[in-house]
Symmetry: C2
Amino acid sequence: MPDYDAIKAELDGIAIEDNPKLVRQKSRDFFWYSPILKDQLDNVTADLVVSPASEEEVIRTLKVAFAHGVPVTPRGSGTGNYGQAMPLSGGIVLSLAKMNEVREIHPGRVVAGPGAIIAEIDRQARAHSGQELRFHPSTANTATIAGFVAGGSGGVGSINWGGLRDLGNVLRLRVVTMEAEPRVLDLSAWDLQKVTHAYGTNGIITEVEMPLTAAYDWVDVLVGFDDFMDAVRFSDALAHENGLLVKEIAPIAAPVPYQFFSRHKQYVRPDQSVVVTMVAPQAIGAFLAFAAKAKGEILFRADTAESLKGLPQAFELTWNHTTLRALKVDPSITYLQVAYPGPDHVRKVEQMTKLFGDEVPGHLEFIRFSGQIQCSGLPLVRFTTKERLEEIIRIHEDHGCPVFNPHRYTLEEGGMKRTDAVQLAFKHETDPKGLLNPGKMIAWENPDFDFSSGKTFLFPGLATR
Amino acid sequence: MPDYDAIKAELDGIAIEDNPKLVRQKSRDFFWYSPILKDQLDNVTADLVVSPASEEEVIRTLKVAFAHGVPVTPRGSGTGNYGQAMPLSGGIVLSLAKMNEVREIHPGRVVAGPGAIIAEIDRQARAHSGQELRFHPSTANTATIAGFVAGGSGGVGSINWGGLRDLGNVLRLRVVTMEAEPRVLDLSAWDLQKVTHAYGTNGIITEVEMPLTAAYDWVDVLVGFDDFMDAVRFSDALAHENGLLVKEIAPIAAPVPYQFFSRHKQYVRPDQSVVVTMVAPQAIGAFLAFAAKAKGEILFRADTAESLKGLPQAFELTWNHTTLRALKVDPSITYLQVAYPGPDHVRKVEQMTKLFGDEVPGHLEFIRFSGQIQCSGLPLVRFTTKERLEEIIRIHEDHGCPVFNPHRYTLEEGGMKRTDAVQLAFKHETDPKGLLNPGKMIAWENPDFDFSSGKTFLFPGLATR
Ligand SMILES: Cc1cc2nc3c(=O)[nH]c(=O)nc-3n(C[C@H](O)[C@H](O)[C@H](O)COP(=O)(O)OP(=O)(O)OC[C@H]3O[C@@H](n4cnc5c(N)ncnc54)[C@H](O)[C@@H]3O)c2cc1C
Ligand SMILES: Cc1cc2nc3c(=O)[nH]c(=O)nc-3n(C[C@H](O)[C@H](O)[C@H](O)COP(=O)(O)OP(=O)(O)OC[C@H]3O[C@@H](n4cnc5c(N)ncnc54)[C@H](O)[C@@H]3O)c2cc1C
């Protein structure tokens, strides 16, 4: 057991929390989304929460932790949903929440502290010069920018810009290493892959530079279809319209919208599948013409709604918020993350829809993936047993639909990130004692790990680039 | 022969030109690009040029012309290169050049008079709110916005937004009909197809509303490759990078850049193929990393160049400006417009490159076409005979590469626009006497025209939508 009294003394002047109740609170994220992770991780807790207010305090903290051999798990807002921010080996949770300043805004880019809340960056960029981030998770209102970069993948806006894995979608990261004398590295271009979606296993992000794009007063529009596959085909066609600017396209199968979207329920019939969209105001005319041609029923338009009181923004019906809303109503619900590789993604969705029906109600997110329109899925699962869940996953994979298992807390098993020798070498450099968020990178824990296990990874390895 | 004295009297107060030399000048465009059109159209001239200063003067002019049965051919700046604006049956050339005001700028959209110069719209939108048009022809510095909408198809920026054919890329057109009592129509959404790329055959555009996007200080970058196909593969990969914001990607085969780009020649070796790009400033770092990985040589970067004096902007090396520069040096050069339908567009380009070598030096423009990255080509042709030109076209088409023949002045033969019954009916409504730009729409001239002749058209018909 490390000597926490000595550690606290050495961290004098930096905000510290050691009340076990509060520490436990800050040791948890949305892992409970998964019935499997819920069992596995429920007892995880740190010993101390440290909340540095500056990069200098981050450096001091890492230095002390390194000297004492104490694990450090960084934390933004703890909205990750695979236990990313949970300190499996205890030690220190390093909260970056205080470093939340938006530092600079320029045409096309913003510089922010790691703990800046995503929606706050957007608010300031919009006020400053009509700009906003290219895309954000549906947790934008609470999540931090560094937590997104380190633990997320994409979201609202990915239909236009792809995801965090794509070159150019993060401009620069400033990272502090976990060494006797922590170094500060400025990473850009290919090197960013070392730190994006790495769950903070190889450096603490202390500054983020992200590209900006034009901000619009996006109009939330819900379009209804009697048949889920009509909703999917409409979404796919819409995504292929070069000139029709939308920020979000998510078809969600009946009865999910009626059953789980408590605030929007008033607009939807029980048997209606819904496409949730965000449309640029200048595109509304063309959008309505396009929807009419596809026989979509306009269920809700924020720009003409009588009142928006009590209604969440449409993006808080999408991505993992769809799951969240379902879970709130029916705690037995869980979900998957599925890729339907194109160009026959629509056919693949149709196959899965036919096979599983209401046991796995469809929820797709249309995205631009390596320059091509595709859809990924976050279908709900009416959970019965772990065995059946594994079977559902297997059937998807047997049909060419790889599953990024959201019921795993490691980088590799979740299937999002391919670790490779370059990656591992980088961790050896930046975290030689393996103290950063231990337990999350299998390749580190198991030196015999087979890098070429052949899975589909959303974040490519580094050696290949 | 119409009574032009009476006509002039009736048009009293509107600017008129009847000096035959000046009228002939305003009756010509860049038709001479094509050795074939040059022969066919060289004697074409109008009788009168009328230059209305307002919509009201447009209406008056059409009314008078209708009463006298005089043809009216609208004209912007006359930069069309298929004789679009040439009055095949004489009559009046209606110059819209005076109606050049930028009328309103809002977030995401601009309203302008038909004669507004495209680059001037961009200048004002940028100064107003950091915005610009989504895409523009390489003639932006001289061409008018209505001339582009009525006679063009796409250009610089089409890699991100597609072209004028795409729903949402034109928001609204105000059009005056050619009737005894001209009507003013406001067209939007699907109806726009009636007027876009219709060469002014079914209405005079008096106001244009276009979407805007974020303006950046785009950086011209030339990337060199020893092998044209490496340049093509680099361009294709670049176009597929979701996060790397560029506005233009044009690979141009050696020896064209060295031989014909007189101002940029200093940066290029004779045997180098060049990819002309425009890169967002915030993307430069990632772009350079990407180019280095592809072993592209950075030949020129406008952001670090010692002097830009005398250098045209990079976009004036692309689209039909590539052809123009070649023609200036070697008047025997001509060109084609080729589609290489994806997803195997790169393979198709390779086949053509192997088949023709330096007889047809490659020039591609990467674009987003119905949501997919594709390339279209404007290859140069070292012209020998008309027969050989037709043969080159046939060989392209035999290999699955449709040619939009730039040596034809009709809408249908150029292959850009599918006319159909809806289109034709619209012309019957808006131009019952067939006085607008006569001779350009075969379907009108020949009532037995087969609408389903099976060609590839860039602008779809209306019946199908
Ligand atoms: C309802 C819901 C919806 C969601 N929707 C999306 C979505 O649309 N897209 C998406 O990608 N994700 C989504 N997520 C996951 C998550 O909300 C986002 O990725 C979010 O951006 C994480 O930010 P955070 O501040 O909460 O990070 P945390 O959860 O606090 O941390 C995430 C990871 O980053 C690490 N980390 C945090 N800060 C740093 C730092 N400064 N340096 C190094 N590592 C650090 C943590 O250790 C952890 O591994 C969703 C989750 C929920 C619960
Ligand atoms: C070097 C060069 C490069 C080019 N590059 C491109 C390119 O990148 N992309 C592209 O699409 N085109 C290109 N073009 C073609 C042409 O320059 C553009 O389409 C340009 O926008 C036409 O504008 P303009 O004002 O010159 O139109 P004009 O040539 O004057 O007219 C074009 C057509 O529109 C009609 N018209 C004009 N005004 C009106 C009106 N108010 N109402 C109804 N009809 C009207 C005319 O009758 C004519 O049929 C190029 C041409 C050249 C010579």
